[in-house]
Amino acid sequence: MVEQFQEIAVTINGTLQRRRVPPDLLLLDWLQEDLGLTGTKFCCGIGVCRACTVAVQWTPGHPSEPVLACSIPAAALDGHAVTTVEGLAGPTGLSALQEAFLTAFAFQCGYCTPGFLMAAHILLARLRAAPIGRDRIDAAIDQACGAHICRCTGYASYRRAIRKVVFAELVP
């Protein structure tokens, strides 16, 4: 059985990566096995738990969207830009969400944390681009993060941390 390969060029955390990959190689496996980026987590592998959420910018200039790295081939990202948890902190330090997750003690084992961070990061960017009324923000947070699974900490402190950042930034 001769394995087929496909040339892809994907921007990962701001760096263009060119590779030949099998067409069915999952984005998660490409990140972890080839690029050494293991911050994006494998948990269920079937797109339920969302621990593997990354941000994909399908169209330049448009807000990123959440993508489940366990359920999409890397080849499908050809020509697009991906942000993983390793790409969230800026040159001046942690993002506001990362800092809020820390000070809210939002997680315990932390294995689901990258997924929650990416979902909240994407939401924040989307709300910046298209603000909504204060009364709709909680529902937007619930929609963005409500399907993620956390087994240790029971969601309440994640939600508190995300609300704190979103309301501080978007509802002065």
């Binding site: 293991t38 987590k41 240790c152 029971g154 969601y155 402190s157």
Partner: protein, 898 residues
Amino acid sequence: MSSLFRPTRRRFLQTAGGAGLTIVFARLAAAAVPAFDWSAGPGRARARIDGHAKVTGQKIYARDFRARDMPGWPARERLAMILRATAVDRVFEGIDLSGLPADLRPLRQILQSDLAADGIAPPPGNISLPTGGAGLLVPVGQAPSYFGQPVAILIFADFATWRRAKQVLQFDESILRYGAPVARADPAPYPPTTHITRYAEGESELFSQVADGFSNPYAEPPSETDGKARAMRARIEAAFEAPDIQHFTGRYATQILDPMFMEPESGLGWLERDAKGERTLHLVLGTQSTNGDIATALGLFASESPIRPSTVVLNSCYPGGGFGGRDTSVFPILLALAAVYADGPVRIANDRFEQFASGLKQLGSAITLRVAVDSAGRFQAVSGQMNMQAGGLNNYSQWVAELAALTGSGSYRFDKAMIDAAALPSAGVVAGSMRGFGGPQAFFAIECLVDEIADSLGVDAIVLRRRNALQTGDRTVTGAPLIQEMRLAEICEYASDFPLWRDRAAAKQARESPGRLYGVGFALANQAYGTGSDGVMTEVAIDAEGRLTVRTNCIDMGNGSATSFALSTARHLGANAQAVEMGDVARFDALGLHADPTPPEAPWDNPHWTACYELSSSACMTAFHQVHAIEQAARILFEESLLPAACRIWGISPAAALPDTLWREGSLTAPGLPPLPLPAIARRVHGDNAIAAVMVHAYYQVVWVSAEFLVGNVARRRPLDGLSTRRAQEAGWTMHPRKHTTPPPPGADRYGRSLYAPSGAIAAVEIDRRTGAVSIVEIWSFLDPGRIIQQDIVVGQSDGAVAMGIGYALLEELPMLGDGAGNGRWNLDRYNLARWADMPLSRMDLLLLTAHEGTGKGIAEAVLCPIAPAIANAVAHATGHRFRELPITPDKILKALG
């Protein structure tokens, strides 16, 4: 989640320092100092010490590491896949990989015959089949013992081959060849079974485990104690039928659960062969049983085995969740086997299907309880039959049943008790250690029954609990006196006054409609923490710049112990530790202790002996046990080294300074003397080659064993049983042999447990009459945590327990046998956990009793135990129907509502 694994200390074991561990944690510590200030001052944290690594996606979990990440390892890495039994009623005849294209074939396939030929078998007493056999892999010609039992280990050339081969092999049952059907007999329970009998009348203790010894009323022939227990049980039976006594019986069942920690078990192994032929087995693992896994990995090999490693190095990682499910798991054994048969580093990375098929489960239960109540509403007698459904391989299963028995009478005083508990083997996936360790099952049963009794008596359910709640000085079902302050009644009083409870009738009337039911339920719990025989160890060290490091053999599976450890130096050293190195087993050889199961004469007179050397890591062992060891080590470092050094700087006598010294803003202060910053004292300690590291071992059984230790020329009594110190400029340790040891009191080994963390919960539910769906609309937890180390961590444990308790009560379910997890087809599309939307996130909180005690309590299990019964009692209030079997699914509710 408590662990009772007590391996014989293997003196032949040549352990090596966890090279990878040191590197992993050294890197974290180095990165953390400039980039991340987690501390909020001495004894307080603004974030978890491991938090920065976790929000930035650093490599900290075993699953993150590849061979190329490990210093000194070859970069080429093999991948292994475990084939597992999917049938137990037919003879296994071998594997058939002919469907696999030639370029995807494994480099090596390992069967039980290979292990037998090479003298490989699990060490006795650790991994045992109910039939007494100990085959790690299913032997050809025999039927598998249980679903999910490993059949073969396949080692593939690389990730690409493994990935493609797995696509072919996974879910294809035709690769396992089965032959003739076999009849399966129900084996006997995992020994020992638990039998508790207590008979007291007022203050007269006529029979109990503590007073009379362990007993088994079913033993043939009975011993004198067994016979006495039989007679007492006859009297207890009579007590149920006495005049003015009402008795109530309930039968309850709980389901098999998967811990569903987020990181499926993964790891790296490498058998390094040096030029002299010495073999070192390196393992990269996230495990709760660090000591046990090393001992087991080495104990696999017969001494004459040609492939036996001489050294095992455990590179211990942060586990992505544990909940007991990584405590003496089979996974490390399989990883070790793959490593010794591979030609270099090898990785096993379970996917979730494989994790469901192989990971430790919580035991199911079928519990019958009977309670006798007098006319004043006081509980008089309890009897219980607790059949705990275990799997086909023992994993503490009998000890889970034991704790179910010990907690079977709940939070209440019963002068007369007879409780039997057994872990019944099955062909199901391995079941044993999981959060609660028998407590969740037991508290579900007793708390539902007590609620039913209150209904029958027409008494408020919390008032009834308050009336019968255990108090300090009462005795447990083993006859052990409760020496802690017992605040169960206080929890009942708080809960009684809580509007959610107080106004429940009015709320029910207001909130119900033709399509919606509403109910409120309460449950009380008194979960034990510790195992009843607890050995802990730690090291506290100071470097020349005044940086403190805590080292421990245990790990933080997410429960916050790393942070708690770092905070626990502050009490005596005025500063938090800046680094916590966890999972290091070998360095504690410097304690010079062992725990031979056949102790010498007068064992406590032997300074090298302890009753329990180590335990697996457990969230409930942190706040009381581990923190005690750290605080004692820090205290000794202060008293024997830092204070004398400070006094040398001050030019005064330590004896003169001791009563008045105080740490203030990082400096040691004393009246009339200049404050000394910790780094200045540390420089003097190192300059004078004074003690810079203290290693201690402590043993708790009803009390901390204490002894006198001579350090320098002063002997002091300390609540420790092992002490070693290291001077600043020296690599070697000095053991300070204990003298005049005060052992546990007589009978302490029969208490069962002596430490408890009272808790409670009020839950409110709404039920959709049309769908039967239950929504938790409000939930309040109550807890006596003792002295709190970091409240945020306690709250996180409680919030997580609410989520897990909701899953237990309403959502999670795994069949035990062929259609269960062992068939390799279970994942989160079928196994339903509580999500964000299942939680009343804006209407839940934790009320903490203000600490009266000077020590913390192990609360990780306590916060879980009342959740499911509180929900079940709320559902009963809503529907008028008692659901005695978990989970309470919409189907069951619709059926009950007709």
